[in-house]
Subunit: 381 residues, 2 copies
């Protein structure tokens, strides 16, 4: 009765299937590297479990495609990545503190030092070990989040021993508005970054890094020595409002648990927020907000069956959503069949828009209970 | 320089700390059981990794406090729970399909059967094994999500062999509006449930179960034989708008990475959405939306330091938030110190309101990268 013609696509024990196309990640890496040109290294940001897609397969794919510079947020993420890629340069955005210095050194991680306290902590630790330890200096150019201010940079410069035991790899900063190419803050941050590079040249003569995914698509003046794309690698559009130059990486499908035909006009789901007409057919899918399908998608998201749009109706539950499948033939809505939630027809940016957020948040929220499959892999294709 | 007086509270390698008070969970279980009285068993819903709090410690605490009936959504969750609690009754809300029948039987899980296809699948499997297998029937009483319709119940009743190989434990349904005690749908669902119990009595004479957390606080007529609280066990208020009768279970703290004093009026964070005055102090915290701190909390959430409110300003980033700590003495905002995000002063329901959602979604989203600590445990206290 619940037998399906689509047995190859069926899943066991989970309510949804997340498919990650590793070859598409490799394609996107090459697209970004080509856009940057030979003067700029293309790194990869793989924090937050590679934005939820799985650190191990994603990092290995990037390495095999030529990526050598990796960025994560936390020391623990760096330790996990080091176990996968013994030779990579691994930068830790959150830097170091008293608690993390030993692990940072032991795993040859490069902390991003964002305030004088971090510089002092790392310098003191290196001095005590009688060794030189690598670091990247972060400067604030207008985001007011992390990074040295010009006054703090002056303080460091005034003490010739402030980084005596450190191999300072260079200077980085972060753009606040790179996804809005015409925002005046971009030019202001670029000028501030150039000023800080010049100022810090005596301490940090090496690499300069400013561009995130969207920064790769700004003027080449923003590229400097090392770019740090993340989102675009996973298919998120780095230029909102323009055609997406990236290949789609992620597919999300949910399993139909039950389809019912409404015999009297009635309400669907928690709070009885959506009423359906007699004769409508409602499918219940085994994905909910505990899987990262945000509750803000209630009564607003689209799904697709065989290319036909089937809207999410009613409130998103913890483990379930309900969709109106009246437009789709009954044989396509049998229990066990899969419904497309993120697909080429409905990419992650579209689902994000329906949720009132950005694709980054959708990806990082997904997948804790979903079955995962990886396509391709390696640099072969 | 980043040394703190609060060393005992410091964390390593992660940007935030989630503390779960297992004794408070035990207290809440007892509160709910007392409210139900001796005629109603109090179960526990531990799907989605016990709403994100950690299945193993939470399930063991509930068992030791006297809980014997556990509910999860997925077969895989049931398998994980069976390994922890060999003697528990474990119900699977999503039921069974062709793919999950063998695991469901092998781990002595009790599927909730919600449509005739599931009944047939489970019945056929049991018949082929020449054994009797347990099940709970779900009926739809007005949520239109999962459950047999009256017509489908009639079809089952018309075939005396439809559940011949099943030990049907009873009947359950789910309330759509239990958190709004005066919503007319509650009385309608109660009547529909009574009608379905009477109708199915020949097939399913046993247990009747209707009440979720909020249902426990409705009239005792809603309690029946077995209640299924989840959210209230973790301190979420089952009666929004009334004082919360539950003990607080969850504390969430974020680590300060850097605190800066703004030297010229400027913008904070992505999109430059928040401007700060000269002299303001901004602390950057190592928690972001990849940790489940929703992006919808941008410019709207509250945090607390030593009981003083410090608002989240600017957009929530993937790994970072910025808070305005101008109201707090500088020594309390040194790098490494912890900021209270969910606390007795600012419970999970308050953070959920700031995000435009409910506490359930906040809990299930939290904690993938957070350090976790458990307090108490067991039934002792």
């Amino acid at each position: 009765m619940s037998r399906s013609s689509n047995v190859a696509g069926r899943i066991r024990g989970a309510g949804g299937l997340l498919t990650v196309d590793l070859d598409a990640i490799a394609t996107n890496y090459r697209t970004l590297a080509a856009r940057l040109g030979p003067a700029t290294q293309c790194g990869g940001v793989v924090k937050a479990d590679a934005y939820g897609l799985g650190l191990a397969p994603v990092a290995r794919t990037l390495w095999e495609t030529g990526c050598r510079h990796f960025f994560v947020a936390l020391t623990e993420e760096g330790i996990a990545l080091r176990a996968l890629l013994p030779e990579a340069r691994i930068y830790i955005f959150d830097g170091v503190d008293q608690e993390t210095t030993p692990d940072t050194a032991a795993h040859t991680l490069i902390p991003v030092l964002s305030h004088p306290g971090q510089v002092e902590t790392w310098e003191t630790f290196a001095g005590a070990q009688e060794t030189r330890l690598p670091a990247l200096l972060q400067v604030d150019t207008g985001m007011n989040r992390l990074g040295l201010s010009p006054a703090e940079a002056d303080t460091l410069l005034s003490d010739p021993d402030s980084v005596a035991a450190l191999d300072v790899d260079g200077v980085m900063s972060h753009l606040a508005c790179a996804d809005e190419p015409d925002h005046p803050q971009n030019a202001q941050q670029l000028q501030n970054f150039r000023d800080m590079i010049a100022k810090l040249e005596p301490l940090a003569p090496g690499t300069a890094s400013l561009a995130n995914s969207s920064g790769v698509f700004l003027d080449p003046a923003f590229h400097f020595d090392l770019a740090r794309p993340g989102a675009a690698l996973w298919g998120i559009n780095p230029q909102p409002g323009s055609p997406n130059p990236m290949a789609q990486v992620v597919k999300l499908q949910g399993k139909i648990l039950q389809t019912r035909t409404i015999d009297t006009p009635s309400a669907v789901g928690y709070g009885a927020t959506h009423r359906v007409r007699r004769g409508a057919r409602i499918a219940t899918i085994g994905i909910g907000y505990a899987d990262g399908f945000f509750r803000s998608l209630s009564n607003s998201a689209s799904a697709f069956i065989g290319g036909i749009r089937v809207p999410v109706v009613g409130r998103v539950s913890m483990d379930l959503i309900t969709i109106d499948v009246s437009a789709v033939p009954a044989e396509a809505t049998q229990a066990g069949n899969l419904v497309d939630i993120i697909s080429p027809q409905h990419p992650v940016d579209d689902l994000a828009r329906e949720a009132g957020t950005i694709g980054y948040e959708v990806l990082t929220a997904l997948g804790r209970r979903l079955e995962r499959r990886y396509l391709g892999g390696g640099a072969g294709s």
